[in-house]
């Protein structure tokens, strides 16, 4: 066995406090915090986390509602729990649950919340609330896709009832914190009680926040509506003397206009349905509030301006980006003749993908050389291309060879794909060539790798010289360490994985064999 080289061991994952929140009311020695960083991950108040419980295989999921450090330097988090449906079978009975549904604990009693040491946290969890409660910002498609869990019901631990209604507070925390986080660019300013409000009912907080962050307008094909934060004309602080009230109907109108404008300019995925929905919710809640005296024309204009200001520039951004996209493609067609440049293969691939000249050929004999592929294409399609076989890795099909082709122009690529799809190009040993538009994954430099703990960018500020020089190195695991145990678990998983793949490939090979035997006139290659 090779000796253990400088093993990078840490007794406990790194911890550091974030923003402070205030001292305890009863006990001045207790310091509350808003956030902390643990094991390189930042946790904020109201984040959802996985917590490990002794003896349980599956971690529990809870929402952090309080974070503090005690006099004795103990770090505690208070979490309100989410129940998995399996924990509530007795009360759910035959009620259907969604695949990744959770239920939020509410009420009073055992099981609502607990205070646990920070070290029991094993990771962050992405939980999205899909309740249609007015106070809940509705999640976008993107959120739903990346969500690990959803919830829209509560389980009252006191009365043991499951309900879709959310109380005003859970564990003495306002329920708004349990709903989805608001991701407005500008904070919607609630209509305060000051100023001359002639309205019989108070406005109180029914700001509908249909939020949206359009950070990658160009690529985000699922772009939804731009944020229309119904700022209830709050700038009334300066204008209270002139215009005290807002005509909700007017606001609705304006909002509708804005909302209607956008889908047309986006024109991507006809989210018209969504538009009308939000319109209706807007209208409904607007109507609920009392109708105030209509304002002057001047105010209307100003409001229009305000709204278009506050519908953050995202709207403009979106419009710009769609036109940008179009531009790119036209430009591309002009520059297609520059393919002779001998750039490194990676760059050429990226380039080709953007231009639409990239094609993927599949079902080739895996032992073909790239030049052979180029020849095949030259003879069969009478096109000159640049080809390179894709390197096989653990997951490649051993029977199947793939190659990337870069054509001279996107039209050539298009016609080639069309030809190959429509007709059948057979290779010697009874293999039809399968052609596809080439897409390659972005080479993202991701530093994380599941199962790896390594000294990356941890800040060793207070530790000594030695620790600072510590580096994760390569070594064998000694059999008496925890590391060895964990490593063995990974080995088991690796073996398992290779078995799955073997089984899959065997099945696939059998299928192909079967079909192959049906071929009447295969021409065998002379090898």
């Amino acid at each position: 066995m090779f000796p253990l080289q400088e093993a990078a061991e840490e007794d406990s994952p790194e911890f550091s406090w974030g923003a402070k929140k205030g001292k305890g009311a009863h006990n001045k020695d207790v310091q509350f915090y808003k956030s902390f960083t643990y094991a390189g991950v930042e946790f904020n108040l109201y984040d959802c986390v996985y917590m490990y419980r002794h003896g349980e295989e599956e971690p529990d999921i809870g929402k952090i509602v309080k974070v503090w450090e005690t006099k004795t330097r103990k770090r505690i988090v208070k979490v309100v729990w989410f129940f998995r449906p399996t924990e509530l079978t007795h009360w759910l009975g035959n009620i259907k649950v969604l695949g990744n549904e959770l239920l939020l604990a509410s009420g009073e009693g055992v099981g609502l919340s607990n205070c646990n040491p920070v070290e029991a946290i094993t990771g962050k969890c992405n939980v999205v609330c899909i309740s249609i409660d007015r106070r809940n910002p509705q999640p976008k498609d993107r959120d739903l896709e990346t969500a690990e869990f959803l919830f829209y019901r509560t389980f009252d631990v006191g009365t043991q009832e499951i309900s879709e209604k959310f109380p005003n507070s859970i564990a003495q925390i306002e329920v708004e914190h349990f709903f989805n986080k608001v991701t407005d660019l500008k904070q919607p300013i609630h209509y305060g009680g000051k100023g001359s409000l002639d309205m019989p009912h108070s406005f109180g907080g029914a700001t509908i926040k249909t939020t949206l962050k359009d950070d990658q307008p160009g690529r985000n094909t699922q772009s939804t509506l731009p944020p229309v934060t119904l700022v209830k004309q709050t700038k009334s602080s300066t204008r209270t003397d002139q215009c005290t009230t807002i005509s909700q109907c007017q606001v609705t109108e304006l909002v509708e206009k804005e909302l209607n404008k956008v889908p047309i300019s986006l024109g991507r995925q006809g989210r018209q349905g969504n538009v009308s929905e939000t319109d209706k919710t807007v209208a409904r809640t607007e109507v609920k509030h009392s109708y105030c005296t209509p304002s002057t024309n001047a105010l209307k204009k100003r409001k229009l301006q305000d709204l278009s200001d506050t519908t953050p520039f995202d709207q403009h951004k979106v419009m710009k980006s769609t036109s940008q996209v179009i531009e790119v493609t036209t430009r591309v067609k002009e520059g297609a003749s520059t393919w002779f440049k001998e750039l490194p293969w990676n760059d050429r691939l990226q380039d080709a993908q953007e231009r639409g000249t990239l094609m993927l050929l599949e079902n080739l004999d895996p032992s073909y050389a790239s030049t052979e592929v180029e020849d095949i294409v030259k003879h069969a399609l009478r096109q000159k291309v640049s080809a390179k076989m894709v390197q096989h890795n653990t997951f490649s099909n051993p029977l199947n060879g793939k190659a990337f082709l870069i054509f001279k122009s996107s039209e050539a690529a298009e016609t080639a794909i069309f030809e190959l799809k429509r007709r059948c190009l057979m290779l010697g040993d009874g293999r039809p060539v399968v052609a596809r538009k080439g897409t390659i994954q972005d080479q993202v430099k991701s530093k994380d790798f599941p199962g790896h703990l390594s000294i990356g960018k941890l800040k060793f500020q207070k530790l000594g010289e030695e620790m600072r020089k510590a580096v994760s190195t390569s070594h064998y695991a000694q059999s008496n360490t925890i590391e060895h145990e964990l490593a063995v678990e990974w080995r088991v998983l690796q073996e398992q994985s290779s078995l799955w793949w073997k089984a899959l490939r065997q099945e696939q090979a059998a299928e192909i064999e079967q079909l192959n035997s049906k071929l009447k006139n295969p021409i065998k290659n002379s090898v």
Binding site: E372, H392, F395, G401, P432, S454, Y476
Partner: protein
Amino acid sequence: MEAVFEEYAAFENKVKQSVYIDNLSPLAKESVIKAALDQFGNVIQVTLIRTYLELKGMGRAALVEMQNADEARTIISEIRNSPFMISGMPRPVRARPAVVEMFDDRPRKPDRMIMCYWLKSNDPDFEVATKMKRIVRNHAKEANFLLKTDQNADFRNAGATDGHHARTVGGFRGWPPAAPFPEPQKFSAKS
């Protein structure tokens, strides 16, 4: 002609003395891998493999060429027997003998005549071939799915192993309650 044969023979040799390593952390650079495997012999070259078609987060892979086939074989058996980690722990790397397909700059196989032809649509084989095309596409999708399952399993295992620290501390929840739950109290109008 001789040169072509020689070239191919040299290539085959290269394949025999190369090892395919995967489950590598993205942090592992070529120099790191070289240093790690220098223990086993003389490393001639390390090339990281680019993944164009697979998902991210599956770990990188590399082709390591050793001086001779024996060294390559030693590496593979050693790594298989005891977990070896490169650039971080505790996930060990995996080693397999390299195959021809892993090298994308390979020379042509000498004296191989490739034939190809277009099938006529009235050829009885046309239908079979179309079916084959469809199956190949399906296989690719199946492989993708298995890849995702693989990745999920990786993440779950990571959660379990990373959570090792949590295990030593552990949390308390108080659920499910030890005693059976009493029936919800029914409030009657008249007590």
